[in-house]
């Protein structure tokens, strides 16, 4: 799984309710991503078997509106997402720690 910042945010939004049904606009708001980023990403995740989608069935909830497409994490997808996110966070943490600090710091061993 190719993990980027937006992917991690979308996966976090999906993992907030792993069994729940999520639609595009909701994911856009929860993960703070634009539609042009979200839909290609969802297609990639669906191709990789991490999410699955289905169309809203007819019913009173539609109120005359067209049915929406819902996305949901698969069982294996949820496991992969947790694993991928953990690795991504660890990597990010390690990168942040290894960054040189440009501020003033005392020389090692010197008394202040």
């Amino acid at each position: 799984m190719q993990m980027t910042g937006p992917t991690s945010r979308v996966l976090e939004a999906l993992l907030a309710d792993p069994a729940g049904q999520h639609y595009g606009y909701q994911l856009m708001q929860d993960a703070h991503v634009q539609s042009g980023t979200l839909y290609p990403m969802l297609k990639r995740l669906e191709d990789e078997g991490i999410v699955t989608s289905h169309w809203q069935s007819d019913g009173p909830t539609l109120e005359g509106r067209p049915p929406r497409r819902y996305y949901r994490l698969t069982g294996e997808g949820a496991r992969q997402a947790r694993l991928g996110l953990a690795e991504y966070r660890a990597e990010k943490h390690a990168t942040a720690k290894s960054k040189p600090s440009y501020g003033w710091s005392p020389a090692p061993g010197s008394a202040t």
């Binding site: 639609y23 634009q34 042009g36 839909y39 509106r65 067209p66």
Partner: protein, 186 residues
């Protein structure tokens, strides 16, 4: 839904239709349905907000999908613009009205030899009018390395009147003077 909302919805839908035209045909219907539905739901979800907020949400959703189309395997904006320019050249060619006229003349001829002859002659001249356009687009294709599909489009402009002329000529079996015909072949 208020009148303003209907206007926003219409703008959003138009933008989505345009974006979906650039998608591969296999995924066009699915994404079009999904995004059109999403527009209706955005208007409902944001119903309590200020109208301008709803408008911005719908338009930015639809516009940003134009960017997303590339990620879904659709035609890039650059290629779309080039295709539109070439296509408009194709439509604006002096040959186009002539062979459209010829086709309709033929279809409405009712077997009248005079009208068929008229259509045939129009087709004949249309192919020559199309030639400068073909040369122009060919030069553009060679220089800018535009995909050959665009060249095909331009060549069609020549082939349609040429094959139309040939078909009419063969179907009427009236060869008469072959000078024009051979000039067309050459």
């Amino acid at each position: 839904m208020t009148r303003r909302d209907r206007m926003v919805r219409a703008v959003g839908r138009s933008l989505i239709f345009l974006a979906c035209l650039r998608l591969p045909s296999s995924m066009r219907k699915t994404h079009q349905s999904e995004w059109l539905a999403e527009i209706d739901w955005i208007l409902k979800i944001e119903a309590d907000r200020w109208w301008a907020y709803r408008a911005a949400a719908v338009v930015s959703f639809a516009l940003d999908n134009h960017r997303g189309v590339v990620g879904l395997g659709g035609l890039s904006v650059w290629r779309t613009v080039v295709a539109l320019i070439v296509f408009s050249l194709f439509l604006a060619s002096p040959a186009t009205p002539l062979y459209v006229y010829a086709t309709f003349t033929y279809l409405r001829s009712g077997g009248d030899a005079g009208r068929i002859n008229n259509a045939k002659n129009t087709m004949f001249y249309a192919q020559f009018l199309a030639l400068p356009l073909v040369a122009f687009v060919f030069a553009g294709v060679v220089l800018l390395a535009i995909p050959t599909v665009l060249l095909g489009l331009a060549i069609l402009n020549f082939i349609i009147p040429f094959s139309g002329y040939l078909l009419l000529r063969l179907s009427t079996r009236r060869w008469g003077s072959t000078n024009f015909f051979w000039a067309g072949v050459v």
